[in-house]
Amino acid sequence: MKKKLYVVAEVDEIPPGGRKIVEIERRSIGVFNINGEYFALRNACPHAGGPLCRGLLTGFLRSSEPGQYTYLRRGEFLRCPWHQWEFDIRTGQSWLDPDKTRVRTYQTRVEPGQALLENEVELMGSGLTKGPYVAETYPVHIDGRYVVLEL
């Protein structure tokens, strides 16, 4: 199916750290600005369907031993407001519940580039493994003054 482009906002509407939730083709989608980079995720948590994009934006905390804290990628993780699970806003990946016997609710994902793989290596240092839940993500472009979503 041919991809469609949707203008979802003017760039000024979503400042760094900000977000806008839009409705496109009966899908609720959250568009985020992380330090000038734009990301979009489906506003439905793959775990239990919660309004993921209304959740807290935070960083990922990992530890080498009790009392040692490494705070990674501040502002790049979404916490679903229903169960507080953490999702990487760049990939939609959750790092919880790696229970392979459960039904995967979503297989869809954007293939990460090299930079994203490097990010994941850093996250793997937390000792966690990727869980089965991946939030649906969409490519976002900037066209002049407009934020454009590809669906």
């Binding site: 990922f60 990992r62 031993e65 009790p66 040692q68 490494t70 169960h83 937390s126 966690l128």
Partner: protein
Amino acid sequence: MNGAPAPPIRPIDCDVHNAVPSIEVLYPYLEDHWRDYLVERGVTSLEPNYYPRGLPISCLPGARPSSGGPPGSDLDLLREQVLGGVRYAILNCLYSIQSIHNEDWAAAMATALNQWQVEHWLDLDDRLRASIVVPVRSPGRAAEEIERWGDHPGFVQVLLLARSSTPYGKRHHWPIYAAAVRHRLPVGIHAGGVTENPILPVGWPSHYVEDYAGAAQVFQTQLVSLVCEGVFGKFPELRVVLTESGVTWLPALLWRLDKNWKGLRSEVPWVDRPPSEIVREHVRLTVQPFDGPRTAEGVRRVMDHLGSDELLLFSSDYPHWHARDPYESCLRHLSAESQRRVLRENSLATYRLGPETGPDGDGEHG
């Protein structure tokens, strides 16, 4: 179902209580000033009051020595009633030195008690193993006590009591775990203990039955603390044995803990896998009292919820008499394979019981 066949192997009994017959037996192991201190202050006993002497559940019928000492104080009676049927019995002496607030006195009493255990128990019967009693209120002194006895082959465990001044996961307790791991000793947490805190989380109950039945709450608090404070990540070789804790509360606690960990993980980033996995790797529980359902189907369901038959260690809790015989309440409902694990193999994997007791060991003894 009363005619359950005798177990084909001699079990390892992981919870047997040896009692101090009278405080005078410790005098030879105390420096003069502590000995005089006991006499001058009129300290006549540190026998814990959480097994009230007169209560029938504190003592199996026939386990009270004719000498008049407390149950568990007579080695000959122990031989007759326990040691004939087991390969090893692990002693947990509950003499209440942990309640002493004077750090030096508590440490002196712990050393004396352990020396007494060596001379009056371990040296006299090679089926006996014992737990190192430590002055837990001073973790540094407790670690010193573990160092003192850690290479003695008779000591196979460090004994803590379930009720403590602060949760056992807190970092000021960690010298105890470091010392235990250095000597390949699991830490046994046994029911009981008296501190400045009420014995139940919401305050003091009115009755003994509330105290005893409420023990699981205390164990749950300690277990959650050990996991969430990251003790098992810091000490990957540490094993903890919950003793006289009951068993069937564990699955529900772990369901809850796993679930909440998913949402609150970032608060404890050192807990890098579901708590239930950590517990199944590091924690064991003794079977007496087995607080399970009465039917075979019910017990099998409990085992299914526990997720492994490697978690349970056989124990009698001699000479206490809180519950039905563990064969009757639990073991007879298990497969022969599971029985062998619970009776013996799990304990061999947990305790430093010596090379002569490998998996095949002396399993042929009746």
